[in-house]
C-alpha cells in the first residue's frame, strides 16, 4: 500500500531545496526531519502554542497545521535564518532583556516577533501583546518578551 510521494520544491532560508514528501506530511515534520532544522519546535501539534511558527511567503503560519504540499514553490523562513554572523536586533534584545528562559517557545516567539516588526504591525505595548497572542510561553509571563520587541522596534537596547 505504498503511497506515491510528491516532489516538493521550495526555498528554505534562502536556499532552493527539493525533496519527496508524503502527500499527508506536515510542513513541521519536513522542516525538522527532512531539512534537519530543529529550531522549529512542536509544543502542541494543534495550532495552539505557536512553537512551530515559521514565515511562509511572508505570512506567519503554524507549521504543524500546514500540509507540506501547500509550501510548493514557496519561500520559507525559519528561526535559523534570523542570525547572520551576529544575532539579529530582536535576538540581541531577547538576550539583553531576558526574553528567553527555557527557550522552547523562543524560536516561535522570535519568528512571530520578526514578522511583526517587518510588517510594522506593532505600535505600542498593547499591540505587541496582541501580536504575540498566538505564541504561548509558560516561563516568562511575557513581560520581557514584550520589552524586547518594543525595544527593537524603537531601535534601543
Amino acid at each position: 500500500m505504498s503511497i506515491s510521494k510528491i516532489l516538493l520544491k521550495l526555498t528554505v532560508n534562502g536556499i532552493a531545496r527539493q525533496i519527496y514528501v508524503h502527500p499527508m506530511a506536515r510542513l513541521l515534520d519536513v522542516i525538522r526531519e527532512d531539512f534537519g532544522l530543529t529550531g522549529t519546535k512542536e509544543g502542541c501539534g494543534e495550532g495552539e502554542c505557536g512553537a512551530c511558527s515559521v514565515i511562509l511567503d511572508g505570512m506567519l503560519v503554524n507549521a504543524c497545521l500546514v500540509p507540506a504540499v501547500q509550501a510548493q514553490g514557496s519561500t520559507l523562513r525559519t528561526v535559523e535564518s534570523l542570525a547572520g554572523v551576529d544575532l539579529s536586533p530582536l535576538q540581541e534584545a531577547f538576550l539583553h532583556h531576558g526574553g528567553a528562559q527555557c527557550g522552547f517557545c523562543t524560536p516561535g516567539m522570535l519568528v512571530a516577533g520578526t514578522h511583526l516588526l517587518e510588517t510594522n504591525a506593532v505600535q505600542d505595548e498593547a499591540g505587541a501583546r496582541e501580536g504575540l497572542a498566538g505564541n504561548l510561553c509558560r516561563c516568562t509571563g511575557y513581560v520581557k518578551i514584550v520589552d524586547a520587541l518594543l525595544a527593537t522596534r524603537e531601535g534601543r537596547p
Binding site: 525538522r32 534537519g36 532544522l37 530543529t38 529550531g39 522549529t40 519546535k41 512542536e42 509544543g43 502542541c44 501539534g45 494543534e46 495552539e48 502554542c49 512553537a51 525559519t78 528561526v79 535559523e80 534570523l82 542570525a83 544575532l87 535576538q91 531577547f94 538576550l95 539583553h96 532583556h97 531576558g98 528567553a100 528562559q101 527555557c102 527557550g103 522552547f104 517557545c105 523562543t106 524560536p107 522570535l110 505595548e125 505587541a128 501583546r129 496582541e130 504575540l132 497572542a133 498566538g134 505564541n135 504561548l136 510561553c137 509558560r138 516561563c139 516568562t140 509571563g141 511575557y142 513581560v143 520581557k144 518578551i145 514584550v146
Partner: protein, 738 residues
C-alpha cells in the same frame, strides 16, 4: 550598594545564544541512527483487574518490540520515596492512564497506529474519585485507610483559645488540579543492555531517574548513567515523572537488544498522563479578639494524592507548615492528610503544597477582616510575624524582615487606599464591570523541609582545566530558571575571575556529584552556596600554591594543572548551626530561611460574562539578594502568570479519574493579552547562609496571586469566593446563588 563583581548583576543567560538561534538541542531534536519510537498502551478504566490482552489479528506484530510487566528484569517499580508504583501494571489497575504495555517501532506513525490495535480487557472495580470517597474508605484502594501520610502540628491550646474568641469562623476552601504545560512535552531517549543503561532527556532531577533505573533493573549504580539535555520548562512537572518515562524507554531498549528508543509524548498524552498540582480542601476554624488579634487557628488540610504515593508526603509537609501563613498565632492545630484516589498520581508543581494552604489562610484573613469591620491591611498589621516571633513549628523567626513595610510598599504601588475607598462608589453605578483591589501576604521556605537537606548531603565541585578554565560540576539542571548563569556568577565571584572562564557542565551522573534534585527553590540558595564554597576553596588552593599573585586566574589554573595534573575542589552541605528539626514531633526549624512577599492586584469583574481581568499586578518580595536581577524578575513574572492561571482559568475537568480537557485548546494558559505588565520589586536583605546573601525564590511567586485575586473579587462584589480556579461558571453560581 554592591561590592561584588558579578553577584547582583544581570549577567546574560549563558546558554542564551543557542536558545535564540535554534541551535539548542532538546531531546526530540537529536538525530539518532537506528532509533525506535516508543508508545504506551494504557488502561482506560480508573480501577480494575486485567483479564486479558489481545493483539489485533493480521497486524504485523513481529515488526514491533513489545514489553509488558513480565519483561522487567529487576523490580516492577518506579522508585520514589516508597516503592508502591509499578512501572507497568501487572494484573491490577489503579488509575485510568496507568501504563500496561509498551511498544516500539522504527516508524513513529506505525507505533501510534499499533497502540490502537491492542485491546486490554479489564474487569472494572469501583473506583475512588474524590477526597470524600477516599475519606469514607469507600472502598479502600491504598493501604488500610487510603491515607498516604498524616501530619499533626500543635502549638498552644487551640480549643481553649477558640472558645474565648470574639469572632469565630469556620470556612472551607477548595483548590483544583493544575497542569504544568511546560511548552516542551516530556521526552526521553534510552539505550539499555546488561552492560549498562544510558538515559538522556528532559528532566529536573538526573539522580532521581538514576535511582529509579537502578531499582528497576537491579543493576549496580555505576552501570546506570543519566544525562539531562536542554529542558523546555519543568515547574515540578519533570521532577518525578521522568523516572517513569525513563524506565519505560529503557525497558523497550533492553528488549530490543540495546537499540536506542525514544518516547516523546505528544501534548495530549503529556497533559492526560503526567502529574498535576494536588487538588486540596482546607477547612479553617479560627478565633479572633475584638480588635482583630488572631487567637487560634484549627486547620484541617486534605490533599488528593492520586493513585500512588510519589511525592505526596512531602507536598503535604510543606502545605502543613505553611498553613498558618505569615501570622503570629499562639494557638494552632494543623491536621493534614494526603489521600489516595484512582487518578494519575499528583505530583510536584511549583509551590509544592504551599499555594494550597496559603490560599486558604489568605482568603480566610480577608473574610475575617470583613466580619470584624476592619480593612484587610489593618488586620494584617495586627497579626503579621515580626522578627523573634514563634512560627507554627516552634521556629523562631530569625529573618530580619519588616513585613508591614513590605506590605505597605505593595499597597502604595497599587494605590490601595485610594482604590479601596473609591471603587465601592464606582461599583454602585449600573456599569456591569466592577472594580476591586486586594492583596495577599505570604512566605515560602527555601530548600528542603527540616532535616532533609542534611540527609541529602549534597556535593558540588569545581574543576580547573589544562587551558585555564573552570568547570562547575553539579547535578542541578537548567530548565529555564537560570541555574547555569547563577552558578557561573557565583563561581566567578568566588574565584575573582571573569565569567567567561566558567563553564557549567551539563548534568550527567557519570560526571557530576549529586548536588540533589532541582526543586524546592534550593538551587541558588543551597547548591549555589556549595558552588561558592568550592570556588573559595579553589582560590585558596591556588594562593597556597603561591599562584594568583598577579590576579590572573586562568594563568594560575594552567600552571597548577600543569604542575599537579589536576585541580578539583568540592563542597558538601552543612546546615546553618542554628537549625534543629525533629521529624517525629514536627518541631523546630522547618526551613533555614523563608522568602517573604506581598502581592497586590487591581482587577475588573464583568457581571455580564463573569470574566475577571487583572488590570494591574504588583509583586513585592524579600528574597535575600537577587543574584541576577533580570533572571530573578523573570522568575517572579513567570510564576505570577502561573498563579493567575491557577486562580482564574486553568481548570482540569475530571471524567472518570482522567483529565477530560487534555488539550491546549481547552485547558487555557494565559497569552500575552490575558496578562497585565507584572510589576516586580525586590527588597534585599542578604541571607547570611546563602551565596552572596541569596535565598530561594523560584516557587514563591506561585503562592500569592490566587488569594490576592479572590480577595480583590471580594472587594469588588462583596462576596466570599472560596474556590480556585474561579472560572466564570464558578463565579456566576456564587453571585447568582447569593
Amino acid at each position: 550598594m554592591n561590592d561584588y563583581a558579578h553577584i547582583g548583576r544581570s549577567v546574560q543567560r549563558r546558554e542564551g545564544r543557542a536558545k535564540l538561534t535554534g541551535a539548542a538541542l532538546f531531546t526530540d531534536d537529536f538525530k539518532i541512527e537506528g532509533l525506535l519510537h516508543g508508545a504506551t498502551v494504557r488502561s482506560r478504566v480508573p480501577r480494575g483487574r486485567i483479564t486479558g490482552i489481545h493483539f489485533e489479528e493480521g497486524f504485523p506484530w513481529d515488526e514491533f518490540v513489545i514489553v509488558t510487566a513480565r519483561d522487567i528484569p529487576g523490580k516492577n517499580v518506579v522508585a520514589h520515596l516508597i516503592q508502591d508504583q509499578p512501572c507497568l501494571a501487572d494484573g491490577v489497575i489503579n488509575h485510568p492512564e496507568e501504563a500496561i504495555m509498551l511498544l516500539a517501532h522504527p516508524d513513529p506513525q506505525r507505533v501510534q497506529d499499533a497502540r490502537e490495535r491492542v485491546r486490554v480487557d479489564v474487569e472494572p472495580l469501583p473506583p475512588v474519585l474524590s477526597i470524600d470517597e477516599s475519606l469514607r474508605c469507600d472502598p479502600v484502594i491504598w493501604g488500610e485507610d487510603n491515607i498516604f501520610k498524616t501530619i499533626h502540628i500543635t502549638k498552644g491550646d487551640p480549643d481553649g483559645a477558640e472558645a474565648q474568641g470574639h469572632l469565630r469562623m469556620d470556612a472551607t476552601y477548595l483548590t483544583g488540579a493544575q497542569e504544568h504545560v511546560y511548552i516542551e512535552p516530556n521526552a526521553i531517549i534510552a539505550e539499555a543492555t546488561a552492560e549498562g543503561v544510558l538515559v538522556r532527556g528532559s528532566m529536573q532531577c538526573p539522580y532521581y531517574v538514576h535511582h529509579a533505573l537502578h531499582e528497576m533493573f537491579q543493576l549496580p549504580l555505576e552501570k546506570v548513567r543519566v544525562a539531562q539535555v536542554e529542558t523546555g520548562g519543568g515547574f515540578g512537572g519533570k521532577e518525578d515523572f521522568p523516572s517513569m518515562l525513563a524506565c519505560h524507554a529503557a525497558l523497550l531498549s533492553w528488549k530490543a537488544g540495546g537499540r536506542p528508543v525514544k518516547i516523546a509524548y505528544d501534548r495530549e498524552e503529556d497533559m492526560a498522563c503526567t502529574t498535576k498540582r494536588h487538588p486540596s480542601r482546607t477547612r479553617i476554624r479560627s478565633a479572633f479578639a475584638t480588635d482583630g488579634t488572631l487567637l487560634a487557628l484549627d486547620v484541617e488540610l486534605l490533599l488528593d494524592g492520586g493513585a500512588y504515593t510519589t511525592l505526596s508526603p512531602v507536598v503535604l509537609s510543606r502545605a502543613a507548615i505553611h498553613a498558618s501563613g505569615p501570622y503570629r498565632c499562639p494557638n494552632l492545630r494543623v491536621q493534614a492528610r494526603a489521600l489516595a484516589t484512582n487518578t494519575p498520581p499528583h505530583g510536584a508543581f511549583r509551590g509544592f503544597g504551599a499555594p494550597q494552604s496559603l490560599f486558604a489562610i489568605e482568603r480566610h484573613m480577608d473574610e475575617a477582616a470583613r466580619r470584624l469591620g476592619l480593612d484587610p491591611a489593618e488586620l494584617r498589621r495586627k497579626n503579621l510575624l515580626r522578627t523573634g516571633d514563634v512560627m507554627a513549628t516552634g521556629q523562631i523567626m530569625r529573618d530580619e524582615v519588616d513585613l508591614i513595610a513590605l506590605m505597605d510598599r505593595a499597597l502604595t504601588e497599587i494605590r490601595y487606599a485610594e482604590k479601596r475607598d473609591s471603587y465601592p462608589t464606582l461599583n454602585a453605578s449600573d456599569d456591569p464591570v466592577k472594580r476591586g483591589v486586594g492583596f495577599s501576604v505570604f512566605m515560602h521556605g527555601g530548600g528542603f523541609t527540616g532535616s532533609a537537606e542534611t540527609m541529602l548531603n549534597s556535593v558540588a565541585a569545581l574543576e580547573g582545566t589544562e587551558d585555564g578554565r573552570v568547570r562547575v560540576l553539579a547535578a542541578s539542571t537548567e530548565m529555564g530558571q537560570g541555574a547555569n548563569t547563577v552558578f557561573t556568577q557565583v563561581a566567578a565571584e568566588a574565584l575573582q575571575a571573569p565569567v567567561d572562564l566558567i563553564m557549567v557542565v551539563p548534568p550527567d551522573t557519570s560526571l557530576v556529584p549529586n548536588s540533589g534534585p532541582t526543586v524546592a527553590s534550593r538551587t541558588t540558595q543551597v547548591v549555589g552556596k556549595l558552588v561558592l564554597d568550592a570556588g573559595l576553596a579553589m582560590r585558596k588552593t591556588l594562593l597556597d600554591a603561591g599562584l594568583l599573585l598577579d590576579g590572573d586566574v586562568a594563568g594560575a589554573i594552567r600552571t597548577y594543572v600543569a604542575r599537579h595534573g589536576a585541580l578539583r575542589t568540592e563542597s558538601r552541605y552543612q546546615k546553618p548551626d542554628f537549625m534543629e528539626w525533629d521529624d517525629t514531633t514536627y518541631r523546630g526549624d522547618a526551613y533555614a530561611t523563608y522568602s517573604w512577599a506581598c502581592y497586590a492586584v487591581d482587577l475588573r469583574v464583568d457581571l455580564v460574562t463573569y470574566e475577571t481581568q487583572v488590570a494591574d499586578f504588583v509583586a513585592v518580595q524579600e528574597v535575600g539578594r537577587a543574584l541576577n536581577p533580570t533572571l530573578a524578575a523573570g522568575q517572579i513574572e513567570g510564576g505570577v502568570a502561573q498563579g493567575i492561571g491557577w486562580g482564574l482559568n486553568e481548570e482540569v475537568i475530571w471524567r472518570g479519574g482522567s483529565m477530560a480537557n487534555h488539550q491546549m485548546s481547552n485547558y487555557l494558559i494565559a497569552t500575552a493579552v490575558d496578562l497585565p505588565r507584572i510589576r516586580v520589586f525586590f527588597e534585599e536583605r542578604p541571607f547570611a547562609y546563602g551565596p552572596g546573601g541569596a535565598k530561594g525564590l523560584g516557587e514563591l511567586p506561585m503562592d500569592g496571586p490566587a488569594p490576592a485575586i479572590l480577595n480583590a473579587v471580594q472587594h469588588a462584589l462583596q462576596i466570599a469566593p472560596r474556590q480556585v480556579p474561579m472560572t466564570p461558571e464558578v463565579l456566576m453560581d456564587l453571585v447568582e446563588g447569593a
